[in-house]
């Protein structure tokens, strides 16, 4: 183990995550499933608890004190996330259940209204199912075609072929900022410029980026950006769609119901202002409050410090894993092109068996297709094992992972 470069006080940081402090199968937990969901710090849990214990009420329609407090905290949370993503105003932040619902919202409103027979929607074979299936459903209903940007053998988008698939017929392009299956970081600002050159809109699936780096939607210049609270230390059941106000103004509503209307008549209704037009029904109020607290938490720790620390841990992990006989890592060779996700296979040990064996030593990794079956098919595997790192992981934990892989090799004789 190398001397840890302490960009922040790691034991202190870890102590803020109650779930990290436990034994699994007799070993201290090593949680390396962060791309699936992150653990939550006390700051987030306390914000949620305090909301319920003190300020709980429904939002927007009440005059009494609790309702005032709940509304204020809910709208403050929106403003907090607006600044987190550098949106021009809080009204550009739409609360959703998560990234999946955010993408479905764009597919179900903007795309259904603007995409027609013969038009094209461009995604890539690197995408998470949540950024594939909604577009397939739009294509089915509109007669549009879903086209794909391909990957190379390092799991990078083949951007030199972009002009072959991006053209006049392309109405919208939707791509992951960072791949959850490979860790590939896409040059998303550059792609956005090329997408805008042909007059198409650009949606970014930021589920794996939001937790790890500052997202600046204005600098990226994109049209839609989606993130999930639960992957950035926030609660489950909350996420955000950011979109430019002009787009939100002209878009049809998504779900119908309370909060999103202006006037309801027997024969039809008119819609509330943006953002409420897109938020039918009682929202996940405590979830929004918790997600804002998570944004506070991450910025207090500091994204620069988080990035530097993760780089240290991931570099060490790649070095160590590369020395394990029979282990193959998928995704970009260069650390500059990848984030904290390491997908791998080990000899003929099936990823499920790897995961079971690691779990018996307290090491939590994911095994499977990672909701990215097209990625698996690209590499000709049915599944991979995936270790994904976050701000609280340590190089010690990398050693624990490597030791546990020795046990896999012992059993499978690799």
């Amino acid at each position: 183990m190398p001397a840890e470069i302490e960009v922040f006080d790691l034991p202190f940081l870890r102590a803020q995550f109650p779930a990290l402090d436990q034994e699994i199968n007799g070993h201290p937990l090593v949680y390396l499933d962060n791309a699936a969901t992150a653990q939550k710090p006390w700051k987030v849990l306390d914000a949620v608890a305090q909301f319920y214990e003190r300020d709980n009420a429904n939002v927007h329609r009440g005059i009494h004190e609790l309702s005032r407090r709940a509304t204020e905290e809910f709208e403050d949370a929106r403003a907090r996330i607006a600044s987190f993503m550098n949106a021009s105003e809080p009204a550009e932040i739409i609360w959703t259940r998560g990234t999946t619902e955010a993408i479905n919202l764009v597919a179900g409103t903007w795309a259904l209204d603007n995409v027609g027979e013969g038009d094209e929607i461009l995604i890539s074979t690197m995408e998470h199912h949540s950024n594939i299936v909604p577009w397939q459903l739009v294509a089915e209903r509109t007669g549009a075609k879903v086209r794909y940007i391909e990957m190379d053998d390092q799991g990078r988008l083949l951007l030199d072929q972009l002009s072959d698939v991006l053209g006049e017929r392309t109405k919208i392009v939707s791509l992951a900022h960072i791949s959850n299956a490979l860790g590939t970081v896409n040059p998303i600002a550059e792609i956005t410029r090329r997408v805008h050159d042909v007059g198409a809109l650009m949606m970014i699936d930021g589920a794996q980026a939001g937790p790890h780096r500052p997202v600046d939607v204005q600098e990226l210049g994109c049209d839609f950006y989606a993130i999930s609270g639960h992957k950035m230390c926030g609660p489950t059941g909350i996420g955000v769609l950011w979109a430019r106000r002009e787009l939100l103004e002209e878009m049809s509503p998504y779900q119908g119901g309370g909060e999103m209307i202006r006037i309801v008549e027997r024969d039809g209704s008119t819609w509330a202002e943006v953002p409420h037009k897109f938020e039918a029904g009682t929202p996940n109020i405590a979830g929004a409050v918790g997600m804002a607290a998570a944004a506070d938490f991450l910025e207090e720790v500091g994204f620069d410090e988080i990035a530097e620390h993760e780089r240290t841990v991931v570099r060490y992990a790649v070095e160590q894993l590369s020395q394990v006989p029979g282990l193959r890592i998928y995704g970009p060779d260069s650390l500059d092109e990848r984030s904290g996700v390491i997908s791998f296979t080990l000899g003929d040990a099936h990823p499920h068996d790897i995961s079971t064996i690691l779990d018996s030593e307290g090491v939590a990794v994911r095994a499977g297709h990672h909701c990215a079956q097209l990625v698996m098919r690209h590499f000709g595997v049915a599944a991979t094992a995936r270790a994904s790192f976050y701000l609280y992981n340590t190089t010690d934990e990398v050693d624990r992972l490597v030791e546990a892989l020795d046990t896999v090799r012992g059993i499978f004789g690799a």
Binding site: H352, T356, S360, A367, A382
Partner: protein, 151 residues
């Protein structure tokens, strides 16, 4: 807590069947074919039986997945060849019992190599792996009975 041990799970016999599966081949003359897929983990098995009267004359499979699912189906096909439909049914039931930690099943010699899988019962998330082939078998038996002329 008494942690379940890896040794009880990964018995040598399981790894043998995983590496060299028995009856892993196409059976063009099959009378019934069932495709089972576990969307959660991606394991899959295509089980083919040639049923002759009330007997399973041949059993083959094509599949991919983890050591547990592939070893289990391999061991299962070994037990199936020549078995009556009723015996196959009993085998499936007894194996389900084994997965649920039943002590009697663990001592039941008629399970053959399949007893090596008894450790799986201590790993709840892996039980469905072991059962994938048997799910296919039970479906195949159901279809064979439906298609068979009534006595």
């Amino acid at each position: 807590m008494n942690e379940p041990t890896l040794n009880s799970l990964y018995q040598q016999l399981i790894l043998e069947h995983y590496r060299k599966p028995r009856n892993r081949a196409e059976l063009p003359e099959h009378t019934v074919e069932i495709h089972m897929y576990n969307p959660v983990c991606g394991d899959e098995i295509r089980l083919q039986l040639r049923v002759d009267g009330d007997r399973i004359a041949e059993a083959k499979f094509i599949g991919q997945g983890c050591s547990i699912s592939q070893a289990a189906v391999s061991m299962m096909t070994v037990k199936l060849e020549g078995a009556t439909l009723a015996e196959a049914d009993d085998l499936a039931n007894q194996f389900v019992n084994l997965m649920h930690g039943d002590e009697a099943a663990a001592r039941d010699r008629s399970l053959g190599d399949l007893r090596a899988l008894q450790g799986v019962s201590k790993f709840p998330v892996r039980i469905k792996c072991a059962l994938l082939g048997f799910d296919a078998l039970q479906e195949a038996l159901k279809q064979s009975r439906l298609e068979a002329p009534a006595h």
